[in-house]
């Protein structure tokens, strides 16, 4: 295991996670959440849980992002809080 890569991915996970809940633009939050899922998928793959990584990539980064974007498209793009 190359620890600097793991460390960078962990830092990015924290950054995207905090960004997804603080950003006002809901479309941006959806995309950040997709990025968070993808980075988590990389972490699962590093830890050897390939089945979980596969599920995270297809469900978390793929379909749920599409659902979020569809919901944002049909409601408002700016959040009030």
């Amino acid at each position: 295991m190359i620890w600097p890569i793991e460390f960078i991915i962990l830092i990015m996970v924290v950054i995207t996670g905090i960004g997804a809940i603080t950003i006002r633009d809901l479309l941006g939050a959806a995309i950040l959440f997709g990025a968070y899922s993808f980075l988590m998928c990389l972490l699962w793959a590093i830890m050897g849980a390939v089945d979980v990584a596969f599920t995270e990539a297809s469900v978390g980064a793929g379909v749920s992002t599409v659902f979020f974007v569809a919901a944002v498209f049909r409601t408002r793009r700016r959040s009030r809080d």
Partner: protein
């Protein structure tokens, strides 16, 4: 109020981090989790089920009951979306937009106007219609068959490599969603209607539960695929492998059609006419 919330969150987070100190080290062979049941699966799963991927054997055979209800949870998510968001309005919209395909003219028809006849020349379009995009449509048309082929591979090859019903079903659903995004929702619904997706989701659950019930009828426990040997005409070990495949197909069907169903409802605010 916001400050109190922040303090509570930080406190809980700190406690959780403090709790991880007591966790066993990563990959520790002496950890309780890897001493109790894991050795049994690692040593016996290939002898019991002839499935090289232990995760699939555990998920669909040893813990088949959990997976059945996981599929049921996804199905009920689709049902919940349907009951919360779907609207059945009998009255047609006041203004309809049609496009005359050979001349690319857009026709606006007010309420009471004469609607064009059903013909390939006239195409009903959404309020927010973007002009025909050759690159996106052609690319998606090229890519979608390969995505679907890959999804079927993921479902069928779950015995040997990572993958299985859930992942394959989601990828298969994503290919149909990609079609809906690149063309429009009406064209997608014409190919795979809401009724079909709901029926397929139910069929998937019935395949799973029915396999379990068949085992019960044949005199074994619920979801004990070894009993299927008499029906499939193979030895009990291969029967467990085949049973896993049957169950995975059911999961794939249910997940695929539920994803498509939720997308139809979400992207059209429950009206199932104008989509993303």
């Amino acid at each position: 109020m916001k400050r109190i919330g922040l303090i509570v969150v930080l406190l809980c987070g700190g406690l959780l981090v403090y709790g991880t100190i007591d966790f066993p080290g990563w990959g520790d062979p002496e950890a309780p989790a890897s001493r109790h049941v894991s050795p049994y699966y690692i040593e016996n799963s290939i002898r019991d089920t002839s499935v090289p991927n232990i995760v699939t054997a555990v998920l669909a055979d040893y813990r088949g009951y959990d997976t059945m209800f996981e599929t049921a949870v996804i199905f009920s998510a689709g049902i919940a979306c349907f009951f919360l968001l779907r609207v059945f309005s009998r009255k047609s919209p006041d203004v309809r937009l049609y496009r005359h395909v050979p001349t690319s003219l857009t026709i606006r028809i007010e309420k009471g106007g004469k609607l064009p006849e059903e013909s390939p020349d006239f195409e009903r379009i959404d309020d927010e219609w973007t002009p025909y995009d050759l690159i996106i449509k052609t690319t998606c048309r090229l890519v979608i068959p390969f995505i679907q082929l890959f999804a079927l591979y993921v479902i069928a090859h779950g015995h040997h490599s990572p993958g299985g019903g859930f992942q394959g079903g989601v990828i298969l659903g994503a290919s149909i969603i990609l079609y809906a995004v690149s063309h429009d929702l009406r064209a997608t619904i014409r190919r795979m209607s809401e009724r079909v997706s709901a029926l397929l989701a139910t069929t998937g659950i019935i395949i799973y539960a029915g396999t379990g019930l068949l085992c019960l009828v044949l005199g074994a426990n619920f979801l004990d695929y070894g009993a299927l040997a008499a029906v499939l005409g193979v030895d009990p070990v291969s029967a467990r492998s085949h049973g896993i495949l049957i169950v995975e197909i059911g999961v794939g069907l249910a997940v695929m059609s539920t994803m498509v169903w939720i997308y139809y409802i979400l992207s059209s605010v429950g009206r199932n006419d104008e989509g993303l």
